[in-house]
Amino acid sequence: MSWFPGWSDPYYRFFFGFVSSVLIGVSILLIIIKYIPRKQEMAGQIWKSFKPWFIMAPVLLLIVGMPQKVLIIALLFLSIFAVKEFALATGLYEDWGFIAVIYLGLGLLYFSIWVSWYGLFVAMPVYIISVVFMIPIFRNEYKNMIQKVALSTIAVIYLGWFPAHLGFLGHHPQRYAYLLFIIIGTELNDAAAYTFGKFFGKHLLISNISPKKTVEGTLGALLATSAYVIFASRWLPGFRLVPLLLSIVIIWIGGTLGDLVISFVKRDIGIKDMGTLIPGHGGLLDRVDSLLFVSPLYFHMVTYYVKFPGGLS
């Protein structure tokens, strides 16, 4: 199928099967837990946050399985929506000048991915932020400008450039394996931390920033992530022991940190969620927070151990 090249790739089919099995398996497990006395409420809460995956997982599999340009466009929209949520939360959205520059900059950033120009991709944040710095000068305005420039810089780098690394990874011939592995792994790590925390959580990990993240949940996530990486290791072309170990570290620590980054942003602003887009999860940023942090770390690890054909230029 030319419109859906992913299906002809065995790695894609493996991860497709894996995701389907997890969805079915967890559903059955939750139904069983529902019948355990005193666990019904907990099962109900987990089910509430698990349910949206029946939409999110097929959307993810569809986007990754389609031609690579679709992935680039999807990531561009993800960045734009993430920036919008962040800007709405901080109040930056009131200033359309900054927002327009960020959006246009993101468009150019993803254009550099579209044309596979790695040099431009790496340099692009510098140019976008330079333009952001020029806004106060052209407006002849200084009030609150440090704050606006700083928030815009965070938006460009953290919400635009970080996830864009996944788009560039899409140029790799084995993109299905690498992309699905990291996206699924990061989300599993998140889900495991939440579930283990719900069942066994007693000690808060970073009490001031996240009142829900527990030491037990985080250790459970390490367990689940390790099991996942070992299970998927046969389906990761070019991954030997060191990249596999690094994958565990990146997914586990990177994922946890990504979650905590958005948590401290929310606490500082004084809001609970970054939006209402995904029922049971909050906003888009609440869902992709871990992936933002993981993306560049993983990209550089992959490109170090598994060379890009023709190199990156």
């Binding site: 939360a89 109040g91 809001i271 209402t276």
Partner: protein
């Protein structure tokens, strides 16, 4: 170091349907851009399909908010009136739309908000609160309303008596009322017809009316409503004489 001040948007905690229904709506860049492109397309379409003609554009107040009112016999009316206004004002003009009809479902709400920047007017239970919303819109600089004081579409194309809301809204205030008359919209797309016919539509815009010197009382509200209605009828009878 002093703390930074954040101002989280109210929209963060609202669901998408809620964001559409709630008023006043927060400014949304995506919506404004889409509405801008839609307005361009709409102007082109109305001109080609209905041979839309606009007369008396010079009567529109500049750099000032106003209420544009006209007869109402078709869904085309709001679209035609908005197309008669300058393109840069499309995001500042709000069409007063019946909440029970235009905000009945998610897609209807989305369409109404994007295409005519609809203000949900509760004509059943909260008329006064809805009028207050209208007043708030007019209090902001250079914002305006598109209003049909008849309340609903005419079934025979004839102008129905105006409801007193318009009088209540503008009497004793510096809010200007611009009377307009739409001809041909009923023949093109009357209530109950599924598809619009390619009939000629003409919008005539009259001179703005000012009622700032009047005292705010029931009698004056009625009198102002009658004057506005007479102005619209006058435009219809004069058939394009908008001076």
């Amino acid at each position: 170091m002093r703390e930074w001040q954040y101002e989280p948007s109210q929209n963060l905690s609202r669901s998408i349907p809620e964001k559409l229904t709630v008023f006043p709506r927060e400014r949304d860049m995506t919506q404004s851009i889409v509405r801008g492109f839609w307005s361009l397309f709409l102007r082109l379409f109305l001109r080609l399909y209905f041979r839309l003609k606009i007369m008396g554009r010079e009567n529109l107040p500049r750099n000032k908010g106003f209420v544009i009112v006209s007869n109402h016999s078709s869904h085309l009316d709001a679209l035609c009136l908005l197309s008669a206004l300058p393109l840069h004002s499309v995001n500042r003009m709000f069409a007063v739309a019946a909440k029970d009809y235009f905000f009945r479902s998610f897609f209807k709400s989305l369409f109404s908000v994007i295409t005519v920047n609809a203000l949900p007017f509760d004509r059943e239970k909260q008329q006064r609160q809805s009028l207050e919303l209208c007043a708030d819109v007019l209090n902001a600089a250079e914002q305006g309303l598109v209003m049909f004081p008849e309340g609903s579409r005419s079934l025979n194309g004839e102008i129905q008596p105006f409801k007193p809301g318009i009088g209540l809204l503008v009497t004793g205030t510096n809010r200007l009322v611009v009377p307009a008359c739409i001809k041909g919209a009923f023949e093109a797309w009357a209530k109950g017809n599924t598809f619009p016919k390619p009939k000629k539509v003409t919008v005539t815009i009259g001179r703005p009316l000012d009622f700032c010197d009047l005292e705010r009382n029931k009698e004056n509200y009625r009198m102002v409503t009658q004057k506005v209605e007479a102005a619209v009828r006058g435009l219809k009878e004069r058939g394009g004489q908008h001076g």
